[in-house]
């Protein structure tokens, strides 16, 4: 009985699948295991995402409730835990209105296509050593490519709605994605320079092998990637494309019911995707300095992923939103030069390392310290240059007076 090999070992869910595929290969046509593995992987990813969504849609509201000194959902089920299911039922049962002047086909297609990029990203995401749907040798590039097409369904939604606010939101989104693509790619390039591979499992393996996480070697790149990623996923601090106080709901103003639910879904999926990318590339993926021998690797990965997603929730509950031109200026004036400097130093360090054939244990701590110092110095310098350094952007207080009738205008308090 081949099934009884090791398949009950929870540390590696891949075992059971592997056994199944082997059995299929022995007993069926040769295309069968290929198809079966694709199906199993796809179903696993969708199920994982939907379950995470149900949990986090509720958890986020509870957490934001805590941040905002209120309770959050607490009526449906214990601690309101079934709130997301109630929401899902609401989305499905509500009427999905198509406005009279909408471009029907495009309007209908956009909410379907918008989910695709966020789903496809997980195809190259290693949940564990063997738990990866497609271990592409250009994995990092694949992430970037998939990220770059997210603009198109959003543009379709905004344009086909035939609403000025929708179109404005869509154009903002497209412009923003194009701008933030560049620092995003440059931040990922630092990883590739160090690990010398674009294969996701190879990057995780490199971090495991050198007993380090790339967040230590590339602190600036992580920050840049996190900010650019936050912009890409379009959640509240950087939700310029659906800024509710300005353009109502941006590109999905005209959507309702299950169509709106798809946008909402895609937003969460994209958030998980960005968190997964950071967890894999910068935080060692499914490895944790040997702990993966004892704890299932996918569990380590999920803890990292959810921990990072929590940062997005925290940001959402705290920060105001920049104006579109300020956000674009931030990409071009701050993130882009910082990313370029970061790449330059990463290349320099790797060159130094490889040319002199030094031992990794000797140089990597030095690089980590040097890069941390570099990150701090650059961030402080840029903040002085663009923000606080300018007199008008220093916080002031109202001046207190007792007399009446005079005017203080233009004087510094």
């Amino acid at each position: 009985m081949i099934f009884l090999a090791e398949w009950w070992d929870v540390r590696d869910l891949g075992n059971a699948v592997g056994e199944l595929l082997e059995w299929l290969g022995d007993h069926g046509p040769d295309w069968l295991p290929y198809t079966a593995s694709a199906l199993v992987g796809a179903i696993t990813i969708v199920v994982f995402l939907l379950v995470s969504l149900l949990v986090f849609a509720w958890l986020e509201r509870r957490l934001i409730g805590r941040i905002q000194a209120r309770r959050g959902p607490n009526r449906v089920g214990p601690w309101g835990a079934f709130q997301s299911i109630a929401d899902a039922i609401k989305f499905v049962t509500k009427e999905a209105i198509t406005s009279a002047n909408a471009d029907r086909w495009v309007f209908w297609l956009a909410p379907i296509l918008v989910v695709v990029p966020a789903l496809v990203v997980f195809a190259v995401m290693p949940f564990n050593e063997g738990m990866i749907l497609a271990d592409l040798n250009v994995g990092v590039l694949f992430l970037v490519a998939v990220g770059s097409v997210t603009a198109i369904p959003i543009f379709m939604a905004g344009w086909s709605s035939n609403n000025k606010f929708s179109l404005m939101g869509a154009m903002r989104e497209v412009a923003m994605l194009i701008s933030y693509e560049i620092p995003l790619v440059l931040a990922l390039l630092g990883v590739v320079i160090f690990t010398n591979t674009m294969r996701m499992n190879g990057i995780v393996g490199w971090q495991d092998e050198h007993n380090t996480w790339l967040i230590f070697l590339q602190p600036l790149a992580v920050l840049i990637y996190f900010i650019a990623g936050a912009v890409e996923i379009n959640r509240t601090p950087t939700d310029i494309a659906e800024a509710e106080s300005e353009i109502v709901a941006g590109y999905h103003t005209e959507y309702s019911g299950v169509k709106f639910g798809m946008f909402w879904l895609a937003e969460y999926f994209a958030g998980f995707a960005i968190a997964a990318i950071i967890a894999t590339l910068y935080l060692g993926g499914w490895t944790l300095w040997g702990l993966e021998e004892w704890v299932p690797g996918w569990m380590i990965f999920l803890v990292k992923l959810y921990g990072l997603f929590w940062f997005f929730i925290w940001m959402r509950g705290t920060l105001p939103r920049l104006r579109i031109d300020q956000l674009m200026g931030f990409a071009w004036k701050a993130l882009l030069p910082l990313a370029l400097i970061n790449i330059f130093f990463a290349g320099l360090e790797v060159l130094l390392w490889q040319e002199n054939d030094l031992a990794a244990e000797a140089v990597l701590p030095g690089f980590a310290i040097a890069n941390l110092v570099l990150a701090v110095v650059l961030i402080v310098a840029w903040a002085q240059l663009l923000g606080r350094g300018r007199p008008q952007y220093r916080p002031t207080r109202a001046r207190l007076v007792k007399e009446l009738g005079a005017v203080v205008y233009g004087e510094e308090a």
Partner: protein, 367 residues
């Protein structure tokens, strides 16, 4: 090279998340820039001035609750002061102190809403608003304790107040006043030094003081432009002349300054409350006035520094039990006068922040 673009019209409102109700701003855009702005209002017009002409002076007090429904106490106060001026009624000292206490609590509650929604206009996801709701809630609890209503209080009456405060009011109010400075420090740490709020509101929607005076703005909008003007000091009513407080003024006249002025007014209101609660005398809270008020023929204009600006009531009596003319000088409405000058040349996000910094309530704009 100049880019040619077709101007297009964007309707911000009347159904829009950030117009504070059913206000409509018809913006003509040239690309990103606003080239013209037209205010369209009246969606909430309930003809209060006409209705009031058909009711007696006392019956009109509930109407004033529903003008600026976020600061009902102040509205009651201004109206009752106008009637008292018309009739020549003197209010007992305790009544005056209670009015000041309620008006200042109302100011804190109103500014909590104003600052919170201003922060939301800057794109925060509800957090400051919810934090401020905590304090507003406690203030509304005090109102409920005193007069049974939270929003439409109908508390200040002609000749005094409707009820004297219950015994549990003083401990609760003192505890709240002790707690508020900490809370305000918390808001300042969250909002005052927030770079994003700074870059969103600094030098946005600038209102120079000359225009602010010429356009009859009042309240935080006028003070944000650096004009030292506060009716509590300029034309003291109730017992404000016996209380010590400062007027916060801005120096640039932008949205950030208006926000700063409101933030500082919270502190000053707490100062006033500390003194007023301390000085509250014993005695009766109101004088008996006849139910059938027949003021002598004549006119009276009474005004107060409401949270949103100068709130005045102009009453003309012809000797009958109902006013011949009941005019409301509403600060929200008149503060909108320079809006067009402030938003032209800005983008939509800036216009929204500017509108938020003026702090309007549509019940008072449309009346």
């Amino acid at each position: 090279m100049t880019m040619k673009s077709e101007p297009f019209v964007v309707n911000v409102g009347p159904q829009h998340p950030s117009t504070h109700g059913v206000f409509r701003l018809r913006l003509t855009m040239d690309g990103e820039r606003i080239v013209d702005a037209e205010m369209v209002m009246g969606y909430l017009h309930r003809s209060v001035e006409k209705l009031a002409e058909g009711r007696t002076y006392t019956q009109n007090i509930p109407f004033t609750d529903r003008l600026d429904y976020l600061s009902a106490m102040s509205n009651n106060l201004a109206y009752c002061m106008a009637v008292e001026k018309l009739m020549g009624i003197e209010v007992p000292e305790r009544g005056e102190f209670l009015r000041v206490i309620m008006a200042e609590f109302q100011r804190i509650a109103n500014h909590a809403m104003a600052i919170g929604s201003f922060a939301m206009e800057c794109g925060v996801w509800f957090t400051p608003l919810m934090w401020m709701f905590r304090d507003r809630e406690k203030i509304l609890d005090l109102f409920e304790m005193t007069c049974g209503a939270r929003l439409t209080t109908n508390y200040v009456r002609i000749g005094g107040v409707s009820f004297d405060i219950p015994p549990e009011f003083m401990p609760a109010a003192t505890a709240l006043v002790k707690e508020l400075p900490e809370r305000i420090a918390e808001y300042e740490s969250l909002l005052l030094e927030n770079e994003i709020i700074l870059v969103r509101s600094r030098d946005v929607g600038v209102l120079p003081p000359e225009l602010a005076i010429a356009a009859s703005t009042s309240g935080p909008v006028l003070r944000g432009s650096g004009v030292m003007w506060d009716i509590r000091k300029a034309d003291p009513y109730a017992v404000y002349d016996r209380l010590d407080f400062d007027i916060p003024v801005g120096t640039r006249g932008d949205c950030y300054d208006r926000f700063l002025v409101r933030l500082e007014e919270l502190r000053q209101s707490v100062r006033i409350l500390e003194q007023a609660l301390d000085m509250l005398p014993d005695g009766v809270a109101s004088v008996e006035v006849p139910l059938a008020l027949r003021p002598p023929a004549g006119e009276a204009y009474a005004r107060i520094e409401a949270p949103k600006g100068e709130l005045g009531f102009y009453l003309v009596s012809d000797g009958s039990p109902h006013p011949q003319r009941f005019h409301i000088r509403s600060p929200s409405f008149i503060n909108l006068t320079p809006l067009r000058d402030m938003v032209v040349g800005l983008t939509i996000p800036d216009a929204v922040v500017t509108l938020g910094s003026i702090d309007i309530v549509l019940g008072e704009v449309d009346r």
